[in-house]
Amino acid sequence: MTAVRRRTLALLMPLALAAALGACGGGSDDDARKTTDRATPVTHEPIRIGSKNFTEQAILGELYRQALEAKGFDVQLKADIGSTEIIHRALRRGALDMYPEYVGVLLSEIAEDRSRPTNAKAAYEVARKFEQQGGFTMLPQTPFSNPNALGVKPEFAKRHNLRTIADLKRLRGRVQIGALPEFRTRYEGLDGLREVYGLTNLRVTAVESNERYTALDSGAVDIASVFRTEGQLAGDSYVVLEDPKGLFASGHVAPIVSDEVLDAHGPGLRSAIDAVTKALTTPHMRKMNAAVDLLERKPAEVATEFLQANNLLSASSEGS
């Protein structure tokens, strides 16, 4: 109910503003026309895509934005939004139309499903059904999986003979984990580590996403909350601890889109999104992450290159 009302308000606001400006003789006519001139979309509103506040999400946001725009959709990318908790609520409230989400995170943090499905397909199905109930469609997930993980410096692993997360229990005293602030209250975070592995000696040091590895390098923290596909993990600089109890669930990404928007734009939107999703394999994703994190390139550029290479920027093609 509130979601619908909020969305209506959100839709009306720019209209009212445009009307006010237009009435005063401004030149905002062009903007208004842009939304109506496109042949493919039926609706007059741009598709609002959200992305979270770390590299992979920034790249994913750009990938979907550019691919949809190439297909003639009017898209608005709202990047750098924040944690799953915030972005998912924004989606549910109608402030966003779509965003790419990690299936495991969705299950543990939003659906609060602690059953830890054993395979990715099962996890996806649970998540899809959960979203369906809320009026959202979870489109097919990516080939790549980027689950949460814990990374340490090789020296640290060697010194304490660490191989799996369970080994952390042997550490004496306080162990500092460098992570995003939400790690403290997440199941795929401190809660789960305590519950599943019985780790009570861990303390979270809240850092920005891009500071996790530097904090690890400088010794400010002992462990960092990482993602498997992050570029930094490509070499031998860090060791990822194994997760034998499957705390960190599926790391596949699936775009969640509002049914309303899917209906409004027809099957063209769905196939355009799927074409991008299908192309995102782990090596590709890792390469793109590395390009941004290590080579300091812009997510938009990296996304463009990938889409061009996969023939996803031409208006007619369906992708490789």
Binding site: L17, L21, C24, D80, A90, P181
Partner: protein, 541 residues
């Protein structure tokens, strides 16, 4: 062009025709020059129009400058309003963020309520801001983007955070606050605000500069226009002085000379404009005046000549008639003497002839006197009137004595007159006063007093007087109010008096009523040698 009767052609023909008629040199060249030359009226109108246009242009540019200044002030005011509103909006966003964080930290509902109140207010504020920057499309776009960014902050961050506190609790929310998702979103908004401010300030500066340039240009235009107007005005004045006033003065001076009697005065007529016309008109007037005076002189001379002939005729006639009348009278007397004893009856006849002859002689004498009165060479000089009156009284002594009249003479002045003729005037007037008496003893008084530049003499009596209606008639020759048997005389005396006084430059009149006596007045010019000092002469008889 000639055959179609368009108004322009008609008027041109009329002008050419008029010029041909009025111009003294009616050659084709002159007509052409007249129609091509600029008339003074045209020049004056053209100069006035030029000055008016210049002044108008200067005024218009000044008005434009003032208007643009006013517009700039309005726009600047709007921009200031926009700036202050944007500032306010930015502050309220910061307070939203602070309030939200405080709510999450303290769990106090008042922070949430304040935050929600502020969140509800921003759409109206951004709308207002949009209206204030409506004349700059770039700013409109910025405000639109800003409104969207604020909405995103509200929708995506603030509302989600509030939901988290409700659904997942404050602990969860606090960790969300720590992600700085709201702060970074707000920083973006604030960066947009900064761009908006900078741009608006630039807009203000640009507008102020434009207005400044416009007003400087207008002031320069105004000063230039004013200078031009002054130049045109001075030129106009000089032109008027040289080309209009000077010729007009020349004509005025010529008019003065003409009025003073110099009818040969003419003015130059080279000019072909209105002043040329004036000069030609003046000359033609002077021509006709001169011609008129010549004619007048001619007819005057003619008149004088015929008058002299007439007088000559009267004089000769009366003189020549005297001789035969004297002869008739002599023969009648001779006849009476010779045949006195024999013919009683014939004697009466002879008496009749003699009486009639005498009467004819008297009439002829008087006629001669009238015709001679004031004629010939008048010896006008300063004459003491008292002396003249004395002479007159001496000659009238017999008549005065006979009537027993009392004559008194006042202080009489020296006047400009002919002695002999003046004496005759007094003789006639005093003689009449003594003659026309009633029952009482006649009293005659002669006095004089100043009457402006003249002396006014009066001869007063207490005689029978006359009806005022006859006051004019008595001055006509041979006019009598009474019969010969009552008062003798031919009635020529007063006519002679009027003629003499008239010749001496004065006038004569009577005031009287029956039984009340009469007063005869006459005026004479004051003596030139001695002024206004009456000569005392006392006399009585």
């Amino acid at each position: 062009m000639g055959s179609t009767p368009t108004p322009g052609v008609v008027s041109r023909t009329t002008l050419a025709g008029r010029v041909e008629f009025s111009g003294p040199r009616d050659q084709g060249g002159f007509v052409l020059r007249r129609s091509l030359r600029t008339q003074i009226t045209t020049r004056v109108v053209a100069l006035s129009a030029a000055a008016a246009i210049l002044l108008g242009a200067a005024l218009v540019s000044l008005i434009a400058a003032v208007t643009s200044q006013r517009d700039a002030a309005r726009v600047a005011f709007r921009s200031q309003q926009a700036l202050s509103l944007a500032n306010q909006l930015e502050k309220s966003l910061l307070s939203i963020e602070t309030g939200l964080n405080r709510y999450v930290a303290t769990r106090e509902g008042r922070y949430l309520r304040a935050t929600q109140r502020d969140l509800a207010a921003y759409p109206a504020q951004t709308l207002r801001l949009g209206r204030l920057v409506s004349d700059d499309t770039g700013q409109q776009r910025r405000v639109q983007a800003l409104a969207e960014a604020i909405r995103d902050y509200d929708d995506i961050w603030a509302q989600s955070l509030i939901d988290i506190t409700i659904e997942d609790g404050f602990e969860e929310a606090r960790s969300q606050v720590q992600t700085n998702g709201g702060r970074s979103r707000l920083d973006e908004v604030r960066a947009q605000f900064e761009t908006l401010f900078e741009r608006e300030r630039a807009v203000i500066r640009a507008r102020e500069d434009a207005a400044e340039r416009g007003s400087s240009r207008a002031i320069a235009l105004g000063i230039g226009g004013l200078g031009l107007v002054i130049v045109v005005g001075v030129g106009f004045t000089l032109y008027l002085r040289r080309s209009v006033l000077r010729p007009v003065r020349r004509v005025a001076e010529a008019t003065g000379r003409l009025a003073a009697g110099d009818l040969s005065t003419r003015v130059p007529t080279q000019r072909e404009d209105e002043l040329g016309e004036l000069a030609r008109g003046f000359n033609s007037m002077a021509d006709s005046l001169e011609r008129g005076r010549e004619e007048l002189e001619h007819s005057n001379a003619e008149l004088t000549r015929s008058n002299a002939e007439l007088e000559q005729f009267a004089s000769v006639t009366s003189h020549d008639l005297q001789a035969p009348l004297t002869t008739i009278s002599m023969y009648a007397e001779l006849l009476e003497r010779r045949r006195g004893e024999q013919s009683d009856g014939d004697l009466d006849l002879v008496d009749g002839i003699r009486g009639a002859t005498q009467q004819a002689r008297t009439l002829i004498r008087d006629l001669l006197e009238y015709s001679r009165a004031g004629r010939g060479n008048l010896n006008v000089e300063d004459v003491p009137a008292g002396v003249v009156v004395e002479q007159a009284l001496e000659q009238l002594a017999g008549a005065i004595e006979e009537s027993g009249a009392q004559v008194s003479v006042g202080d009489l002045p020296v006047v400009r007159a002919d002695r002999v003729n003046l004496c005759r005037v007094f003789q006639n007037l005093i003689g009449n006063a003594v003659k026309f008496t009633g029952e009482d003893t006649a009293h005659v008084s002669i006095e004089a007093e100043r009457d402006n530049g003249d002396w006014r003499f009066s001869v007063r009596d207490n005689g029978i007087g006359m009806n005022p209606d006859h006051a004019r008639r008595i001055f006509e020759p041979f006019q009598r109010l009474h019969g010969e048997e009552d008062y003798p005389g031919t009635g020529i005396g007063l006519a002679v008096c009027e003629r003499i006084i008239d010749q001496l430059g004065g006038r004569i009149w009577v005031s009287s009523s029956p039984g009340e006596g009469s007063v005869f007045h006459f005026t004479l010019p004051v003596a030139t040698s001695q002024r206004a000092e009456p000569t005392r002469v006392g006399a009585s008889a």
